[in-house]
């Protein structure tokens, strides 16, 4: 995908792309059990490729989820605030430099570009991440947790640096596998967002999947024929046996079926296109959990950030009952798929603080809402209610 964007931005292309891209590399070595030496080696390889490409690049370690703010889970307004001036200045500077470099020099790396790496993660953070992933009992839950944390991290990087879109390189084959896996995991309500072309749950940042029409085989051949440099990093399920997780099982199932019936992946892909329209409505109606009575103002937030888990900070909040189960407060904020995953997490303590804090906040709001309901302004109200300041 990166190579295709590079091609699309080159002056030789017939329809030149008109956006300014950056690249994010998420270092997940700690979650996958890589040694620090291997991680450093992979990172060095990644930096070489990133420097060759010439776009602004950002390297983030998965450990940084422990310093994410709770706002990453909230559906923000469309326009990212506070970064407009810096973003425009960066774009102007980039375009001016493009012009100054002249023909055929587009891929030269520009030293003024923000190429950020926030420093290597601390040993404490790495240990916390390892503890989190080691405490998860099944590989399925680990993979789901990893995907969720990665999404939140990339979202945060995008918001911080003023990116309005995130392009993921998921191929048709990968999305077909993801679709079937989501169904098996009870995430059918979110099929449209998880496997569709665009995912607008996060508000200001839209996740798009421009490679969803290319099969894995096409991508492999493209990479081979055009000598695209690639880096292989072991994942959480590398070398895992076929039945180690639902993801692996589904991957084996789809690939084996594809070998016998070559139209398998394209048929599942077509089904995902139908899911775009069909499941979006279903998701909105099913997002209202029985415990949350009136629709809250940020109604889309529970679905958008479905993996918001939190422990009840019962000792900090005077409104919460002392004998309430903190885990229950967390679980009630989750969608069905995440609740099933949480069963494989014996304790919520290792979870990153932003998740716990946000869940506590939402739980408290949900409890307080009925008490102040009559004083709240509805969106469709034209006049203020009496008694409102």
């Amino acid at each position: 995908m990166l190579w295709q964007v590079l091609e699309g931005l080159s002056r030789d292309s017939a329809k030149r792309l008109r956006f300014v891209p950056g690249v994010v590399y998420a270092d997940e070595g700690a979650a996958c059990g890589q040694s620090p030496e291997d991680r450093a080696k992979t990172l060095a390889e990644a930096k070489l490729v990133l420097q060759t490409v010439g776009f602004p690049w950002h390297v983030v370690a998965l450990e940084e989820v422990f310093s994410l703010p709770p706002s990453v889970l909230r559906c923000s307004a469309r326009e990212p605030v506070g970064t407009e001036g810096a973003y425009k200045a960066a774009v102007d500077s980039f375009l001016q430099q493009q012009h100054a470099l002249g023909e055929g020099q587009q891929s030269q790396p520009c030293p003024q570009h923000p190429q950020t790496r926030a420093g290597p993660p601390t040993a404490g953070q790495t240990e916390a991440l390892s503890r989190l992933f080691n405490s998860v009992k099944t590989l399925t839950a680990k993979e789901e947790l990893l995907q969720t944390l990665r999404t939140h991290l990339i979202l945060h990087v995008a918001r911080t640096h003023g990116y309005s879109k995130v392009m993921m390189g998921d191929s048709c084959t990968r999305l077909a596998i993801k679709l079937m896996t989501s169904l098996a995991l009870g995430r059918g309500a979110f099929l449209a967002w998880d496997t569709g072309f665009s995912d607008e749950r996060h508000g200001d940042v839209v996740v798009v999947r421009p490679m969803r029409e290319h099969t894995l085989k096409e991508v492999a051949f493209y990479n081979r024929l055009f000598a695209v440099p690639s880096i292989f990093t072991p994942a959480v399920d590398t070398k895992a046996p076929e039945k180690a997780s639902i993801h692996r099982l589904m991957e084996a199932f789809i690939l084996r079926l594809q070998a016998q019936f070559p139209s398998t992946v394209s048929t599942v892909y077509s089904s995902s296109l139908l899911a775009d329209s069909a499941t979006a409505f279903g998701a909105q109606t099913s997002s209202q959990l029985p415990q949350t009575q009136p629709p809250v103002a940020e109604a889309e937030a529970p679905t958008a950030s479905c993996c918001c888990t939190g422990m009840g900070g019962a000792r900090q909040c005077c409104r919460m009952e002392e004998d309430q189960d903190p885990r229950a407060h967390v679980i009630e904020q989750l969608c069905y798929g995440c609740r099933v995953n949480m069963k494989d997490l014996p304790s919520l303590d290792p979870l990153p603080p932003y998740i716990l804090a946000e869940a506590q906040l939402r739980s408290q709001r949900a409890e307080a809402e009925p008490q102040i309901q009559e004083y709240l302004l509805e969106d469709h109200e034209d006049e203020a209610r009496p008694g409102e300041s």
């Binding site: 994010v24 392009m167 051949f221 046996p241 991957e251």
Partner: protein, 117 residues
């Protein structure tokens, strides 16, 4: 009787993990009674190059689904004729040139990078 054959075998996309991380192997296949074809070569690779987890590489007499095999940059699935036999449609019946490069690509061949703006 097939003469000894020199082949370069390259592993990518994660497949190299099963071969001690070594991506390129220059191998010389010994002479044998039957002519060399891909299936024989895969069995030979399994016996002589594969270091661990054969079930992740071979399934039956072929590679596991998801693994791509390229012979001289051509997809194995498209090469209907065996290696060393006359290709269909060839008028003179001349055999295919022995492949000089065999590539095996694992299914994990996408970079983990995302773009924005």
């Amino acid at each position: 009787m097939a003469a000894p054959l020199s082949v370069e075998v390259e592993f990518g996309g994660g497949a190299e993990l099963l071969f001690d991380g070594v991506k390129k192997h220059q191998v010389t296949l010994p002479g044998q009674e039957e002519p060399w074809d891909i299936r024989n070569l895969l069995v030979w690779i399994k016996k002589n190059l594969l270091k661990e987890r054969p079930e992740l590489f071979i399934q039956g007499d072929s590679v596991r689904p998801g693994i791509l095999v390229l012979i001289n940059d051509a997809d194995w699935e498209l090469l209907e004729a065996g290696w060393g036999q006359a290709a269909p449609g060839r008028q003179d019946g001349s055999p295919l040139l022995p492949p000089s490069l065999l590539e095996v690509l694992g299914p994990q061949c996408l970079q983990q990078l995302a773009l924005g703006k």
